[in-house]
């Protein structure tokens, strides 16, 4: 029975990775860049909720909403100031800029909030669920995380399939020039992608900090890296891939912690990534890159 508990908690952790990975994979698919500052947006989301709830004494739901708004604006602003001027530059220049933005965000948070760990109050207030005569215990955070992630995933798929903006995103991800010739505003579409990714990061931040209630300027760094691994694992550029990659990563991490060694868990996660990439370099759902001349 404890196996099922570990599994469900792994799925919950994995759902958070999946939400973050969606941002990575969408931005990669459309702007063809790795936004390494994405993880730090989570941390900014966490601090925003902390300020709204603890300093201003507002209810948690308001904290999450404000965090979504702050992170969305921040993501779009970063894209406009740091990445957009580099649209024609080499991918390496963009990558280095993204790493620079990541350090900038961490240090700004350090300057404002200091290095001390802040104790985060969970935004989830629903009670824990007890199943199978108390042998499986699910915290409110676990349940909410899984439900929220599934809802967001389904919503995102529908948005891309049905909405005009979603179709524009598909077109831009395949051929920016041809998309422009269809009348699609490519820059606006990229900005929307950053907005969606950053909003998801804010929600991921709320869930992550609720499940692991400590907050430092480096809170987003490791989950960010792991979500990036999840995105590559699932096939970077693929939305269902990011979801599957995230869940798998969370499950592997949690089961490794439970049955092998909690110190070794991260090493095992990365080892699995290496094996997957050796066997299938494009990731689980990655598209084969074939170009027709």
């Amino acid at each position: 029975m404890s196996f099922i508990s570990y599994l469900i908690n792994g799925i919950s952790l994995g759902s958070i990775y999946a939400l973050i990975a969606l941002g990575y994979t969408m931005v990669y698919g459309i702007a063809k860049m790795l936004n390494f500052a994405h993880g730090d947006i989570i941390m900014i989301g966490g601090y925003t909720i902390f300020v709204v709830m603890n300093t201003l004494g507002m209810p948690p739901i308001l904290g999450v909403l404000v965090a979504v708004v702050v992170c969305t604006i921040l993501g779009v602003t970063i894209e406009k100031i740091a990445y957009k001027p580099l649209r024609q530059a080499s991918p390496l220049a963009v990558l280095i800029t993204a790493i620079g933005v990541s350090y900038l965000l961490q240090n700004v948070a350090l300057l404002i909030f200091g290095a001390n760990t802040k104790l985060f109050t969970s935004v989830v207030s629903i009670p824990a669920i007890s199943l199978a005569d108390g042998q499986i215990n699910l915290s409110g955070e676990t349940t909410v995380t899984i439900v929220v992630s599934v809802v967001i995933m389904v919503g995102l798929m529908l948005f891309i399939r049905k909405s005009k903006t979603g179709q524009a995103m598909l077109a831009v991800s395949e051929d920016k020039g041809a998309a422009e010739l269809m009348g699609i505003n490519v820059n606006a579409t990229i900005a929307v992608t950053f907005a969606i990714g950053s909003a998801l990061a804010a929600i991921a931040g709320a869930l992550l900090c609720s499940a692991y209630p400590t907050l430092t300027p480096y809170t987003g760094a490791m989950p960010g890296i792991k979500a990036f691994v999840a995105a590559v694992f699932g096939g970077i550029g693929s939305i269902p891939g990011a979801f599957i990659g995230g869940i798998l990563l969370g499950v592997i991490e949690n089961l490794s912690k439970a049955y092998i060694s909690s110190q070794m868990a991260d090493a095992i996660v990365f080892a699995v990534l290496i094996v997957v990439l050796l066997v299938k370099p494009t990731g689980i759902l990655g598209k084969k890159i074939s170009e027709k001349v």
Binding site: Q167, L170, E174, D175, A178, E180, L181, I184, V186, K292
Partner: protein, 236 residues
């Protein structure tokens, strides 16, 4: 006044001047051909007109609007469609999704449906394959899809870049018949072609480009009988 007017256009790639001050015009209802060898600058001109490449000098006017500095996606809304070189269909989307993408600038669902029917009438093969992903089509079919996609925006003028490139003779014949039809139905056509003979056979007027400059211009049937054109471009 001409529908499309290009005046003293210059385009640079870095320090290299690719287009060295050219002027031409396209009138409502005409089929205009831009012909010339590889590297003469034909594709560059089309890309500059539709806003994909910035110009360094000169003006481009479309129906009285100065579009010289207008971003490409806005130009589409004015009624200009571009069938790019190499077709550039969205290979991972289906034929139908590609066609719908062509109607991105339009809102009226009923009108889009009507245009779709018209496109299927012109290209029955696209209807047969509407649920197939575009990447699985043959080169000729992709060319048809690219043309159909451009027609979906209901353009006043359609710019076509090397529509016959890499196609079998049967497809080339078919593509040129369709261009003739498009012109007959009232859409103005600006055609860039290496196949000068074919292009001149359907054009009203033509411009001959040589390394970024216009070397010759005139009525298509006059150019077809011009000795220098014959020698250089028609292989006679």
């Amino acid at each position: 006044m001409a529908m499309l007017e290009v005046k003293d256009l210059e385009v640079h790639y870095g320090v290299i001047k690719a287009i060295k001050g050219i002027s031409f015009e396209v009138n409502q209802g005409e089929v205009i051909a831009l012909i010339g060898a590889n590297g003469a600058g034909k594709t560059t001109i089309l890309h500059t007109v539709t806003g994909l490449i910035p110009s360094s000098k000169g003006t481009i006017t479309f129906e009285g609007n100065d579009i010289t500095r207008m971003p490409g996606h806005k130009i589409v809304y004015l009624g200009m469609a571009h069938v790019p070189e190499g077709r550039r269909v969205f290979s991972q989307l289906t034929v139908l999704q590609n066609l719908k993408m062509g109607a991105y600038t339009r809102k009226d669902k009923k009108e889009i449906e009507d245009t779709l029917k018209m496109v299927y009438q012109k290209f029955p093969r696209l209807e047969e394959r509407k649920n197939q992903t575009a990447g699985t089509l043959s080169g000729g079919e992709q060319q048809m899809l690219a043309m159909g996609r451009a027609l979906m925006s209901h353009p006043k003028i359609i710019l076509m870049d090397e529509p016959s490139m890499g196609l079998s003779p049967i497809f080339v014949e078919e593509i040129f018949n369709i261009i003739r039809e498009i012109s007959k139905s009232g859409t103005t056509v600006l055609l860039v072609e290496q196949n000068a003979k074919k292009a001149l056979s359907i054009a009203n007027r033509a411009y001959v480009l040589e390394t970024g400059k216009i070397a010759l211009q005139g009525d298509a049937d006059v150019l077809m009988n011009d000795e220098s054109v014959k020698k250089a471009y028609l292989g006679e």
